[in-house]
């Protein structure tokens, strides 16, 4: 294995890992703020990718405008699905509802949403793989290692968006409300936080994050209808390996799984999925709360 191959694989793994982190952070926010286990999140990510592909390739917009358009469409989608679907569930989740019922009802709702979104994508955009021309086709030479500029930009963009998310959550007023709700819903409602509005913000934020991750992937990889399904399983695995509710853990888990995907596909091919599932089993059996998290419920 040459040094160049190694660094390219490392970069690929970092990109994939960062995508996982963006998606899983959204999933985490939905679970902590809205108490909803969203099984449709993988397909929401696929929807984001297709929307960006549509506005970039089909409409021929400038990438930045295409990103803006696709993200605002995703935000609209998030608002509609939250108000139409999950809000009805939210009012039913009183503190005495046992965890298993909560999980079951939210799983049902999100599976219904998943069927609608998944087939909707398939019907609207067709079954064949979609690709786009890369936006920055140059290569950059760092210490005699040639790396594509585009992938570096993707890694940087995901880091920047993550930093923005952490700033939003820790410093702004709405972010504080999000954290308050995730630690005690009833108490924060008593103290004057509009829980429905804040949950809507949290859910929409998560959907936009997934849409952003989907948009980042378009210039590098092909967009296909299968990506939602794969991402659904992988995102659940990353979430559990890192630990629910631990941002550091999520980043760690995303990077580990991303590198396993990248190096695994180079050397053992399709078996790398099996390797990831088995890693997940081992981690969860010995540390049920994930690497850096705690057991909830």
């Amino acid at each position: 294995m040459t040094l160049e191959l190694f660094f390219q694989l490392l970069l690929n793994g970092l990109i994939v890992g960062m995508l996982y982190v963006l998606i899983v952070l959204g999933l985490d926010i939905i679970i902590r703020v809205c108490n909803i286990y969203n099984f449709a999140h993988g397909y929401i990510y696929a929807l984001g990718a297709y929307l960006f592909w549509f506005s970039y390739v089909s409409l021929g917009l400038h990438p930045l405008f295409a990103l803006l358009l696709s993200l605002s469409l995703m935000a609209l989608f998030g608002i509609i699905t939250y108000l139409g679907v999950f809000n009805a569930l939210q009012s039913r989740f009183t503190p005495d509802v046992p965890f298993s019922h909560r999980l079951l009802l939210s799983a049902m709702l999100s599976v219904g949403l998943m069927m609608v979104v998944g087939r909707g994508i398939l019907v609207t955009f067709g079954t064949e793989d979609r690709g786009a021309h890369s936006i920055f086709p140059q290569m950059i030479n760092i210490l005699n290692v040639r790396l594509p500029v585009e992938k570096l930009i993707i890694v940087m963009a995901s880091f920047v968006s993550m930093a923005g998310l952490f700033f939003f959550i820790s410093k702004t007023k709405i972010g504080r409300a999000l954290r308050a709700i995730s630690s005690d819903r009833e108490m924060s409602s008593l103290l004057g936080v509009n829980t429905t509005w804040i949950s809507l913000v949290g859910y929409t934020l998560a959907v936009v994050l997934a849409g952003f991750a989907g948009a980042l992937v378009v210039p590098v990889y092909a967009v296909s209808a299968e990506m939602g399904k794969t991402m659904f399983f992988i995102s659940m695995v990353v979430m559990m390996i890192g630990g629910i509710g631990s941002y550091k853990g999520t980043i760690l888990g995303g990077i580990i799984v991303g590198q396993m995907m990248s190096f695994g596909f180079q050397f053992i091919g399709g078996l790398s999925y099996l390797a990831i599932w088995i890693l997940f089993m081992i981690v969860i059996i010995f540390k049920p709360g994930g690497l850096l998290g705690e057991v909830r419920d």
């Binding site: 099984f39 108000l83 679907v85 809000n87 009805a88 569930l89 009012s91 039913r92 046992p98 965890f99 298993s100 999980l103 079951l104 009802l105 799983a107 049902m108 709702l109 599976v111 219904g112 949403l113 998943m114 069927m115 609608v116 998944g118 087939r119 909707g120 398939l122 019907v123 709405i174 004057g192 509009n194 429905t196 509005w197 399904k229 399983f233 659940m236 695995v237 559990m240 629910i244 399709g270 078996l271 999925y273 099996l274 599932w277 088995i278 997940f280 089993m281 969860i284 059996i285 049920p288 709360g289 057991v295 909830r296 419920d297």
Partner: protein, 338 residues
């Protein structure tokens, strides 16, 4: 009113009527396509029942039904095709194999019955399907085709769908009787206590962990039974069938019908989810969209499932729906941070 007050008697009457109808069904409807749908409906309701038994008895959400369904199907197929066993020996043996694997998996995974258990079972289903696909001994990604039909027994040949229908009906009733007997026994009372409040049950000296494993193993063995029947009925098995997504769809049947009713709930839910998509075949491409929207509607407006909602008075339900609409409109008119 009399219907409600004489609930117990009318329930017995309903059970007898349903039983007579199911026994006579293939004689009334003489269409092999419909027979196929009935058989698939029974397989699905058997799987849904395993899900709701684990939910009702142990208070756990199991998304790995597909794994044990697949293990049963593969064990039975390989015993018959490679070992040369007759179907009637392979069926109980595959139940046993599924039970052993379920015991091993349950002992490891049920130590944390919350979110870790849910995701472990889901990923276990994926692992089983990956292993079956990647290893050539298990047939690879193509799976097995031409799985032999069950051997003729007592002069009954399995040439048409009707014998299959009666076989799955018998197996289904067998599983129901076993579950009912267990639920009525001391074990069943312990299960009831565990599902109501695991912590309280633990203070009463019940080994909650052991009873959860027991419920999981029994239900998973029933899923293995369904898998063994499925393999010999469709005569083809492929690893993709048993992945994690299959298990997610299985949970829809009992919840649609009503999760607290673990015999009739799955039957009703499986009937709905088997027949409505078939009717929607006219619209072919958008069929999952309509099914998904239907699912959303049912979960939002009938959160206790269809049977659970019917057993309330209808006007209560209507009042609640109008309340919900009022709530949403009120909220929309005053939207924004206060």
């Amino acid at each position: 009113m009399k219907f409600v007050t004489n609930w117990r008697a009318s329930r017995t009457a309903i059970i007898i009527v349903v039983l007579v109808i199911t026994v006579l069904l293939p004689l009334i409807v003489r269409n092999s396509y419909w027979h196929h749908l009935f058989i698939m409906g029974f397989i699905n309701s058997l799987l849904g029942m395993t899900f709701s038994v684990i939910f009702c008895c142990a208070g756990m959400v199991n998304l790995g039904t597909g794994a044990f369904f697949g293990i049963g199907a593969y064990a039975s197929t390989m015993l018959v095709m490679i070992g040369g066993w007759p179907f009637w020996f392979a069926l109980p043996t595959s139940i046993g194999i599924t039970g052993i694997i379920a015991t091993a998996f349950g002992l490891i995974s049920i130590r944390n019955p919350g979110v870790p258990f849910v995701l472990l079972t889901m990923i276990f289903a994926e692992i089983i399907s990956q292993i079956a696909g990647q290893i050539q001994f298990f047939g690879g990604w193509g799976g097995f085709i031409m799985v032999p039909r069950p051997n003729p027994i007592g002069g009954i040949e399995f040439n048409t769908k009707v014998p299959y229908y009666y076989l799955i009906l018998c197996l289904f009733l067998l599983v129901v009787v076993v579950f009912k007997a267990l639920y009525a026994s001391r074990i069943g009372r312990v299960w009831k206590a565990v599902s109501l409040s695991p912590r309280l049950a633990e203070t009463l000296g019940i080994n909650v962990y052991r009873y959860r494993v027991l419920a999981f193993v029994i239900a998973s063995s029933a899923a293995g039974l369904a898998g063994s029947f499925y393999a010999h009925y469709t005569q083809t098995i492929a690893p993709q069938t048993f992945g994690g997504f299959f298990s997610i769809l299985v949970q829809l049947y009992p919840i649609l019908g009503g999760i607290d009713f673990y015999v009739f709930g799955p039957i009703l839910g499986a009937a709905i989810m088997t027949f409505i998509p078939e009717y929607l075949r006219i619209t072919k491409e958008i069929e999952p969209i309509i099914t998904g929207l239907l699912l959303l509607t049912i979960v939002i407006f009938f959160p206790r499932g269809i049977i659970g909602s019917l057993s309330n008075f209808p006007h209560v339900r209507l009042a609640r729906i109008s309340d919900r609409v009022k709530e949403i409109t009120n909220w929309l008119s005053g939207m924004g941070p206060r």
